[in-house]
């Protein structure tokens, strides 16, 4: 094959610029789940899921390191579940990617049957696979890239053409930093990301297509339908409210959080073996085996509890450690009470953000692996007063099908029946703003703002004759900057000397349709028509791992000397 498996691309090459060029080929849709993944493509008349050589549509997301050649869940033969848990296999990449070692999600991942080591200082965690009794270090990006290379080879073999462009679904709660990590990972695998779609918006697009096909009405018209999409997989829970008519899906609100089947599983493991954390701390070969056994047994139990009310857990963890217990569904629900409550609050928050009442919702769509859990289904239908969930969507395939449709739409493919006359009007899942007024986070683009978007706010200096100002860009929902994720920073220099509060420092944020964020800053002095200094334009995010350190170091070095406040205009 002409294309190398690994291509090195610079930051600027991985996003943005290329997106504007024309693509003759149809981009494929890829859904990399925490636990399973799938690939789909628009075949000219409908969405088709691609199967691997073992005839599987859903493939496990993992990579096993053996000798020199790692192999992933797409191609490798699955022997027995336990072989996956011998220490040589890395999985849950989607939970690990783009997180620092102070992140609670990373800490919760320490009882996975491979090495996740933290120094708790805000750098990337150390991740390693056990190969021939040696810890071989790797990164979530590397593991994901290896996996994507396999996926790509599989798709190329089936579609008999080179694959370059993909539409990838991502969790709503991913920070922009995590999104760039995903884009870089795809670039490592020789793939170009045409679009990163929050998972429920891919489902919304598919729903829009269903409505369009059902109504046969002209584009742009038709009766508006409001749908709530609840997507809970192994790693993340996402909610979206969409208003759909005439093939146009308008995302009214998004909400997401890092909770999923993995958390249910970990809670259950703790419940079955209360001191599991300390037992497995050393990550010896034996402990990893026990950890793996416990994981498999617990997972099986949870699956069975979806169809039966109690289950017998019988597992020998070795070293005289045995678990023999009957677990009933109520126990499972009680153990995970907090998680289910969080799911409910996400739905309610999403409805409020969308300014939609429960009664206004025409369809409730429940998708993702966790949708098979009775409690999950119940909690959603309870909010909607017993309304039957939308049928006609495969809960495991909806997101990837939506991504494939978007792939066709974004590639400029036309459908004679108008099935691709679709559009998703996206919204920002997290607020973006800068640090000002002390340590406060001042959002310029609030969450759930329609994209593309452009907003600006004017700030001013806090000291007399302040000639420089620091622009610290954050993303998140916290009122204080420390609660949010730093995306980048830059300094404005050459502000004309003036009393404090006089220079007008305009900060503008621009998100284009490809979701590229640019921050612009300019200075104007009252009474002047021309900007005092050239406008600065910075593409975000600019910070790498250890953004927490950056903020601390900046604070230590500059204190409040380069701070800004929002400008209060005199009436």
């Amino acid at each position: 094959m002409a294309e190398q498996a690994y291509t090195v691309a610079s930051d600027s090459e991985t996003t943005g610029e290329e997106k504007s060029s024309t693509f003759p080929e149809i981009a494929i849709g890829v859904d990399i789940g925490t636990s399973q993944c799938s690939v789909a493509v628009w075949n000219g008349s409908q969405v088709e899921l691609l199967k691997n050589t073992r005839n599987q549509k859903m493939m496990r997301s993992y990579v096993t390191f053996k000798e020199d050649t790692p192999s992933g869940g797409v191609s490798s033969q699955l022997f027995h579940e336990h072989d996956l848990l011998s220490g040589a296999t890395i999985f849950n990449m989607k939970r690990l990617i783009g997180r620092v070692d102070t992140d609670p999600v990373i800490h919760a991942s320490k009882n996975l049957p491979f090495l996740v080591q933290t120094l708790d200082i805000g750098v990337r965690p150390f991740i390693a696979a056990l190969v021939n009794n040696m810890w071989r270090s790797t990164t979530p990006e590397e593991v994901l890239a290896i996996f994507l290379v396999e996926l790509r080879a599989m798709a190329e073999a089936q579609l008999k053409r080179p694959i370059r462009n993909i539409v990838l679904t991502v969790p709503v709660s991913f920070s922009r930093f995590q999104l760039t990590r995903i884009e870089r990972t795809c670039a490592m695998a020789g793939l170009h990301v045409l679009r990163l779609m929050p998972e429920p918006t891919a489902v919304a697009l598919l729903y829009g297509q269903h409505q369009q096909q059902a109504s046969h009405e002209n584009t742009g018209s038709g009766c508006e339908k409001i749908a709530l999409i609840f997507n809970m997989g192994a790693g993340y829970c996402d909610v979206a409210v969409t208003a759909t008519a005439g093939g146009v899906s308008q995302i009214k609100a998004l909400a997401g959080y890092t909770i999923g089947g993995e958390d249910l599983l970990q809670n259950m493991m703790c419940y079955l073996l209360p001191d599991s954390q300390s037992l497995f701390k050393n990550h010896g070969v034996k402990e990893i085996k026990s950890m793996g056994l416990l994981r498999v047994a617990t997972q099986d139990a949870i699956h069975q509890l979806s169809s039966q009310t109690n289950v017998q857990v019988d597992v020998d963890l070795g070293d005289g450690l045995k678990i023999c217990k009957v677990v009933d569904r109520e126990e499972f629900e009680e153990v995970n009470k907090n998680l289910f409550e969080k799911c409910e609050s996400l739905i309610i928050q999403c409805l409020q953000d969308a300014k939609v009442e429960v009664e206004d919702v025409n369809d409730v769509i429940i998708v993702g692996g966790c949708s098979f859990i009775p409690k999950v289904k119940n909690l959603v239908t309870n909010i909607f007063k017993g309304k039957e969930p939308y049928k006609g969507m495969n809960p495991l395939e909806a997101a990837v099908c939506g991504a494939a449709v978007e792939g066709a739409v974004a590639s400029g493919i036309n459908d004679p029946f108008g099935y691709l006359d679709l559009l998703t009007i996206q919204a920002t899942p997290l607020a973006i703003g800068i640090r000002a007024n002390g340590n406060n986070f001042i959002p310029l683009i609030p969450r759930n703002t329609t994209m593309p978007a452009r907003k600006d706010v004017v700030f001013t200096t806090i000291h007399d004759n302040q000639t420089e100002a620091l622009i610290l860009v954050y993303e998140g929902e916290g009122k204080k900057v420390e609660e949010n994720h730093m995306l980048g920073y830059f300094k404005i220099t050459g502000i004309p000397r003036a009393p404090k509060g006089v220079p007008e420092i305009n900060v503008c944020m621009d998100i284009d349709a490809a979701n590229v964020l640019r921050v612009l800053a300019g200075v104007v002095m009252p009474g002047c028509r021309q900007p005092a200094i050239p406008v600065m334009e910075v593409r975000m995010p600019t910070v790498d791992d250890g953004h927490g350190w950056c903020a601390e170091a900046l604070n230590r070095t500059y204190g409040a000397s380069l701070n800004l406040v929002t400008l209060q205009k005199k009436a």
Binding site: A245, V409, P446, T450, V458, N506, A513, L520, T566, A571
Partner: protein
Amino acid sequence: MNTLSLSSNLSISKPFHCLPFSNKQQRPSHMKFVIVSCRTIKVKSNDTNLYNILSLSPKSATMDDIKKSYRSMALQHHPDVCHDPSMKEECTRMFVKVNAAYETLSNPMLREEYDCELGLRRRMISNVGVSEDEKWRRRWQQQVGGLKMRSRTRMGQKGGSWGNRMRTQNMKN
């Protein structure tokens, strides 16, 4: 695009102090927005009238019409449906404008305010008017972006009036 457009914005965005307010428009809350930049711009009022942006009739447009029109405009102007790279920029600009119009008109309260401020509730605007009143009105039309700001403020976002004014200006250029 951004560098250029922002710098051009900056050059024209100086506050214009206290426009004369017609007594008919007795809405004290306007005062917040009086300092919207106000250079005479060679734009027809058609381009800044939110109804015109969505091709709607100000008098008869129902909520359904507004939504329908927004969707069909989105299908025409959203950058995702534009496959000519050289047009992306223009599409983005247009869609932001369409979206701004939709946000005001789809909110009954904001729409009523907007109608009043346009003078629609009294009489239709004539483009040939020469009286002070008309001049003011036309100038006001160019400032309608400022109104969007109020909707933002209402929705709980603090600060940013200048921002929206900037955007309004930006859209006009």
